[in-house]
């Protein structure tokens, strides 16, 4: 029973969420008495890949991307599913970010593997396999039992601490397995935010709610975030009102 973690990169670099994910996978592997294999797709330097080892990955599969630089759900699902089968993975872990939400459900059907989506803690038990997730939009939590042989977990962002180890990982180059014939999407243009700290990467968050009374009063929160090197956030009603 091995653990496979999909280590997403952004322009060849990993982010805090990738390391959180690997730290989490290492703890799950420890509970199952097994080890973590990380899969990276795309052009990532060895010095960057080695960082995954520091957070507990024992083996890193470094797969080329056949020139496919944007996410195509069908092609990526097939590549991850093939690797899961080749490595005999019983637990597959992805982030619950947009990529994980796009791929995990397809993987679930392809591998007939139950998903624990948006999990925020280590599994509550292994036999039966029970995970802990948000439900009713944060008004409750569910203990979800996954009954299938292969299990998929998507980890809620910022819900697990980074755990550095003194271990190193073995990097193995694997041939690109993205099937270009499956690709049905074509990215025409990309717009990236620049200069701002992303909420998902932030160590400190300055958030405001309806108590701020008006979008005109947001200035001090933005200024405070700038001073602290923090990201700005807001509550759902503020977002729904279009204030932010």
């Amino acid at each position: 029973m091995s653990v496979l973690v999909y280590a997403e990169n952004w322009d060849g670099k990993f982010k805090k969420l990738t390391f959180e994910l690997v730290s989490y996978a290492a703890k799950v592997a420890e509970m199952l008495n097994t080890s973590v294999t990380a899969l990276s797709v795309g052009n990532v330097e060895n010095s960057e890949l080695e960082k995954l080892g520091k957070f507990g990955a024992k083996k890193i599969l470094n797969m080329g991307n056949n020139g496919l630089t944007s996410l195509d759900n069908q092609a990526y699902t097939k590549a991850i599913a093939d690797i899961a089968q080749q490595t005999g993975a019983k637990i597959i872990i992805l982030s619950n970010n947009n990529t994980g939400k796009a791929l995990a459900p397809r993987l679930s059907v392809k591998l007939k593997a139950g998903i624990g989506p948006g999990v925020s803690k280590l599994p509550l038990s292994i036999e039966p396999f029970v995970v802990y997730k948000r439900a009713y939009s944060g008004n409750a939590f569910a203990h979800l039992q996954i009954d299938t042989d292969i299990k998929i977990i998507t980890l809620a962002q910022n819900s697990f601490e980074l755990i550095e180890t003194s271990d190193t990982a073995v990097i193995e180059n694997v041939p690109a397995q993205l099937d270009v014939d499956l690709v049905k999407t074509k990215v025409k243009d990309v717009q990236k935010q620049s200069g701002k700290i992303l909420l998902t990467d932030a160590e400190i968050v300055v958030s405001g709610g309806r108590g701020m009374k008006s979008p005109d009063n947001w200035g001090p929160l933005v200024e405070l975030a700038d001073l602290l090197g923090a990201a700005n956030a807001c509550s759902r009603p503020v977002s729904d009102e279009g204030w932010r």
């Binding site: 982010k15 759900n73 459900p105 989506p117 948006g118 409750a140 039992q145 999407t185 243009d189 990309v190």
Partner: protein, 249 residues
């Protein structure tokens, strides 16, 4: 061109969530049921596209997986403007059973676009749309915040970490939509409500599937910590608390 919009029947977002039977079951006593907010926005966008298509989009159908007690919610979708409705007659246990039910019911119908909300406000699983796509072998695009049809081709904006991508996709496909897809949910007109009463909801019995997961227990979150108010005349106290209590500066 035909669009299918998948709708979930969820407790009104202001519901005080409670559980019964040793916290294994949601207490639906006195609960008002509504169309899942993301699905309602998705339906609104499908109708906007139909209205702007000069007849190219001939039909917007809604599909729901659930028992007959969800019919008022399905009828609301018809009142808002959906042309037809399908109800897949099972009480689903997990996202896999919902997706399998919808895929089974629509595989012979050749919808060009299948739209699903990014998540339901009750289970928050973000899984049904992607699963339907995989069952049908269709491409899927997730985190869609904008969907247009230009010269008969879909033009999509997808949210990615730290930005957005503009892309095209071949049809048929599944669009998993989120905030931004339409501004406000469309409200049913009086005429729409009257017409919806006479429309038929097609009930489909799907092939049985074994669920992959099940909720064995729910728990309520810990009560919120008290909020500390600071006098605007006393910024020193704020600095003190940020430094020593929150430890952020």
């Amino acid at each position: 061109m035909k669009i299918l919009v998948c709708i979930s029947n969820v407790p009104d977002t202001t519901t005080r969530v409670k559980f019964i039977d040793d916290n294994t079951k949601f207490d639906s006593t006195g609960v008002q049921w509504v169309i899942n907010p993301w699905d309602e926005l998705s339906l609104t966008r499908a109708l906007e596209l139909k209205d702007a298509s000069a007849g190219a989009i001939t039909e917007v159908t809604v599909a729901h997986v659930g028992l007959a007690n969800a019919e008022p919610t399905i009828r609301k979708a018809l009142a808002i403007g959906a042309d037809e409705a399908i109800r897949v007659n099972i009480d689903p246990v997990d996202a896999y059973s919902v997706a399998a039910g919808i895929a089974d019911a629509v595989k012979a119908e050749s919808f060009d676009i299948i739209m699903c909300g990014i998540e339901s406000s009750d289970f928050n699983g973000s899984a049904v749309g992607g699963m339907i796509a995989e069952f049908l072998g269709y491409p899927s695009v997730s985190a869609v915040s904008k969907l247009d049809i230009e010269n008969g081709q879909p033009l999509i904006t997808r949210e990615i970490d730290g930005g957005k991508e503009m892309l095209t996709v071949s049809m048929p496909f599944v669009a998993i939509v989120q905030k931004g897809i339409s501004k406000e949910p469309r409200i049913a007109s009086m005429r729409g409500i009257m017409t919806a009463r006479t429309k038929t909801i097609k009930v489909v019995e799907p092939s049985p599937v074994t669920p992959l997961t099940r909720v064995i227990m729910y728990e309520l979150p810990a009560p919120r910590a008290a909020c500390t108010f600071i006098d605007p005349e006393n910024p020193k106290q704020l600095i003190e608390l940020l430094q020593n209590e929150a430890k952020v500066i």
